[in-house]
Structure formats: C-alpha cells, structure tokens
Chain length 332, copies 2
C-alpha cells in the first residue's frame, strides 16, 4: 500500500509509492529517451492498458475495443490506490496515512503521433469535457478532497510515453501549493472583498503588457512573477472557483484559447516540451468568492536546479513582458 | 537591472533576470550537453573569470594567477547586482524591488576533472570554510537578508560547467521555502519548547531505520517524507541555527560526513547528478532556539514533472527506509 507522509516541518505531503519499489540499479542509465515507435495506447492495444473507466466512442463499439476517440484508464502503475481507508496515524513526531486515491490516464487521441494542440476544436473540447466528468465522478467519493489534473508533454517535461495523454491524481489531502493559493486569495478577499484573480485580469487588460491572447470568455497572460520563460496562464474572465461548473459554450472557448496559445508557443519555441496544470478549488468545497480556477502552462526550457528546489525561489531569464509581446505578435 | 517580483497570490519571489534577456530562439536546441573538455575555471584561465573575491592560495602568488587551491569569483552572468538600492515599489496590485544582491561562484578545485567528493578532507574542509567566510563577509551588508549556498553537480542537475563548483546567491528577501521552515519550526517550538530538528535527530537515532551514517558530531538520514529517491540530509547533532558559527573541528567532521555520504551515493547510484543546498537561519537574525541548520542532498534520478511544480506535491518511488538501509550497508 502506498503511503502519504507529511514533512513535519513544512507540512508538505509526499506519496511514498512503495509498490513501485525501486532499487538503486533501477535509476542507473535511465536518462536516455526511448525512441520507440510502438504505443500501448494505440487502437488494437486496448488489452495492454487497464480496462477503461470512461470513453468517448460510437455507441455500437464495445468497451476496450478500437473505434474510440478518447479513453480514460486507471494508471497501470498507480501512485495511489482506490481501496481501503486513509487510517491517519502517527509514529513519534511523524504523521502519515494510507495512500488512498485515484490515478488515471486520459488518452487524448487514438493517433499516437498527434499532440493535444494538433487536434481540432471538438476533439480538444472532448478532453476538457472529460476533465469535468472525471471530477464530478470522483467528487462522489467524499474521502477524496482534491483532483490534480496535469499534462507532461515531451520527455524533458517528464512524459514517459509519447502518445498524447493527461493524468489525474485524486488525493485525500489538498496539495500544499493549492492550499497556499487558497489562503493567499482568501487573505486578499478578506482585505478587499474582491477576488485577486479578477483584479489581476482587470489590471492585465488595462495595462496590456502581459496579455498573450484575449477573447470573449478567456484571457491568456504571462504572469507578473513568472517562474520560467514563456510561462502562460489561461483564466476565465468571469469569476468561477470550480472548473467542473464549466458549460459547453465556455468549454469551446477554452479549447480555442488553449489551441491558440499552444500554437503560438509552438511557433515561438519550436514545439517545446511543457507541463500543464489545472488549478481549481477543492471539489468538496462550496463555491468560493475568493478563488478562481485557471490553467498554468510552463514550457520546459531551463533545467530547474538546486537553487529552485532548495529555496522555492526562481530565476527567470526572460521578462514576462517580452514573452507576452513575442507571443502576441505571432499570427496563427 | 534585474528585478525581484512577488507573486501576488502566494508571496513567492522570483528574479526576473532581464540582463540575461533571452529571446525564444535562445531556448531552442539547448537540451544537448556540452562535451567540452576545456574549462574556463582551470589555472591559467584566470582572465576568463571575473577577478577573484577570495582565494586559498600560497601567500607568494598574486591574485588571479595560477597556484590557487580554491577561488571565489562573482558570477559572470549574475542573477542579481550588488550596486544600488532595493527601491521597493508597487504597480497596481503587484510588488517588486530592484534585484540587488550577490551571485558568486566557488571554484572548488583547480583540477577540472575532480569532483568535490573526490577531494581529500582538507580540500573539502576548505570549501566548507569558504561557505562560512563568505556568509560572514556578506552579513556586513545589512541590505542582504539571506545567503543561499547550493551546488548543482552534473548536467541533469542544472550544472552548465563540469568543473566542480558551488554557487552563492545573497538576497534582500528570505526565500519562501526557508521562511516556511522557519515558521514551521517556530510553531513546533512554541508548542513543545523543543527544536523540531533535534527531535527528529533523537527519533531517527532511536528508530535507526533511516540513518545513513552516524558519527560524533553529524548524522546523515533519509528524511521521513523524502521528495525523491535517496534524498539525504546531513545535520549537526548539537543545536546550531547559524551555519557560520561552525568551528574548525566540526568543519572537519562535516567534511568527513559529506565525503562518506557522497561515496555511498556514488557507489549505489554510479556517480549520480545531484543538487546540494545548505539550509540555515537568516544571517542578520540572532541565534534561534527553534531552527537547526542542515544540508540537503538530492540525487537527480527522476524527472520532476508537471505534477510536482504544479502542486508542490511529490511522488517518491523509493521508501526512505529502503534507501537508508541500502546506503548504510555500503562500506567505504
């Protein structure tokens, strides 16, 4: 059973995924990227994944057979397990609990050579719709407090398979960075009675220095204190704390905004590896006036080093204003 | 002038190092490791670095000429600048200040092919002594609140030059992660009237599951909530908040402990890339009963991905107990 452990000093939770148990020899010479052209996610290889939880497929095709447009499967090497109780406990000064939760893979397309941003708008919209559906489904399990949805694109960004996919990890705790955002946004709201993200959007639209793309429902910006070059956030212009409340029309606009932003990044940086994370309010909580869901995209251009992980302090060699200006000028 | 900018939501400071100003094209195809055998840090190339601030060299050799054992030079591409005023200011909801501070490189050996852990004990002790000397010197500049000392070893861990070196960044702010440690340790002290690190050391020595190496003055452990496989901390067994108070005898023991731990890691993981960060109390502050300086070493074996930076939540596939057991059994 994997374990969730809390750092006693800074309250950071870590998954000790013992079932993947790795000996030192497993880490030697793994830096090589696999050049495999075979994909276990391709149609016809459905028996190589765990059985699907959800799929978008013609109604006349049976589960776990070809014909699908998108599949959701449990991760074959899950970091957390659905079964069991959290069993919070202590061991001297340390705190831990069982690693319960869910770890799923969203296979975004049957075509192993297509990237998410290559797909047409309806197909991208399917991906964003599945994010919503999975959150709504996992919300029913009240042991689970948060669903992290993220995408690692490219080997350097941590992807182990090239076939385009996102991942979802549902946890019985709220991750530290999300908690910090919630608390920071709450302090601001208590002081001003306004959502800090709404204020950011207002200021960015007025200043216009850091706007990458702006449409009816969404805005993409280079954040003021970007951690790395060309970091880009996509925010809904209206105030929503929970991603899962998004409607079809807004989902279409989100897909359009995402595709446009990615196309700009792909032109500017020649298809960079990137990480994408969906930030949203904890699913068991009610609507919040102070928190605002958004998507953070971080092209992986610099190697984060000791400095960053040891201090929580980043050096960004490209100013957000320059990055935004550059991306804005790229016509798609 | 570089700028220090604060994320308005979570109060994380970022250096926007505009003088390094990078256009998108500078990031394309940089993933290749340089195979250069030439080192600008080698003796004879002293004119390729900025003039030395400090050196350990025979008294009859002039500055910036060969003959040295160790040199400290300002980083040629500094993230921060010593000159000027911090000039804290706002821009709407955003906060920023000038990027004042110091950014120095400690060239640990004249031999470009030797690693820090290959050096003999007196040479390693010189490196730890220089850390102390530089902190004591930079402390005189009361604009500077913290000195981050870190080492990136190996390309994957972020080193841009192979020649063994550490870096030092002095900042007018206290980095977020350090602040969190200080606050977490303070809360614990307020509750228990004991240092949490001293309690960790006591529990680890009693349990003995996670002890990697134990000697008179120092202990090396796999931390209970390790973020990554084979993460190892070295702590002084006695309570000291400020690294810079270390005496020569303890410095010798620290060098011995460091070399032993690194030799074990090098055997277990075949000379892994790693990051090392010195964690210590802010230099302008008085002795603290609640904080305890220590060194964190993180072999770079897994690629941190979207999940980690997006959530502050880590998955570690090797339990600290297994890692400690493995390292302990390696006889050096």
């Amino acid at each position: 059973m994997p374990e969730l452990r809390k750092d006693p000093i800074i309250d950071r939770w870590v998954i000790i995924s013992t079932e993947r148990g790795r000996r030192p020899s497993d880490f030697i010479n793994i830096v090589e990227e696999k050049k495999d052209s075979f994909s276990p996610f391709s149609p016809g290889n459905e028996d190589m994944t765990t059985p699907e939880i959800f799929a978008i497929r013609p109604t006349d095709t049976p589960s776990n057979t070809p014909g699908w447009n998108l599949r959701v499967v449990p991760n074959k090497y899950p970091a957390l397990r659905v079964e069991g109780h959290s069993n919070r406990r202590g061991e001297g000064i340390y705190d831990m609990m069982n690693g319960i939760g869910a770890h799923e893979v969203i296979i975004e397309t049957p075509d192993k050579d297509q990237n998410l941003s290559d797909l047409d708008i309806p197909a991208i919209q399917n991906v964003f719709r599945v994010f919503k559906e999975r959150i709504l489904d996992l919300k029913k399990d009240i042991r689970l407090k948060y669903v992290m949805i993220f995408k690692n694109h490219g080997y350097v960004a941590g992807a182990t398979l090239k076939h385009s996919h996102s991942q979802l990890i549902a946890t019985p705790i709220i991750p530290k960075l999300v908690l910090e955002e919630l608390e920071g946004a709450k302090s601001y709201y208590d002081l001003k009675e306004r959502c800090i993200y709404c204020d950011i959007i207002r200021q960015e639209m007025k200043d216009n220095y850091r706007v990458v793309y702006d449409e009816d429902y969404f805005i993409a910006i280079s954040p003021f204190a970007a951690r790395s070059p060309f970091e880009t956030w996509i925010l809904p212009k209206e105030h929503f704390s929970h991603y899962e409340t998004i409607d079809d029309n807004r989902m279409r606009h989100l897909s359009l905004t995402f595709k446009t932003v990615m196309q700009k990044l792909n032109v500017a940086l020649q298809n960079p590896p990137y990480n994408l994370v969906l930030h949203k309010a904890p699913m068991q909580d009610n609507v919040m006036k102070h928190y605002h869901w958004h998507i953070e995209i971080m092209p992986k251009l610099t190697r984060f080093a000791g400095f960053e992980w040891g201090t929580g302090f980043y050096i960004n060699p490209t100013s957000p204003e320059e990055a935004a200006q550059f991306l804005k000028e790229i016509v798609i």
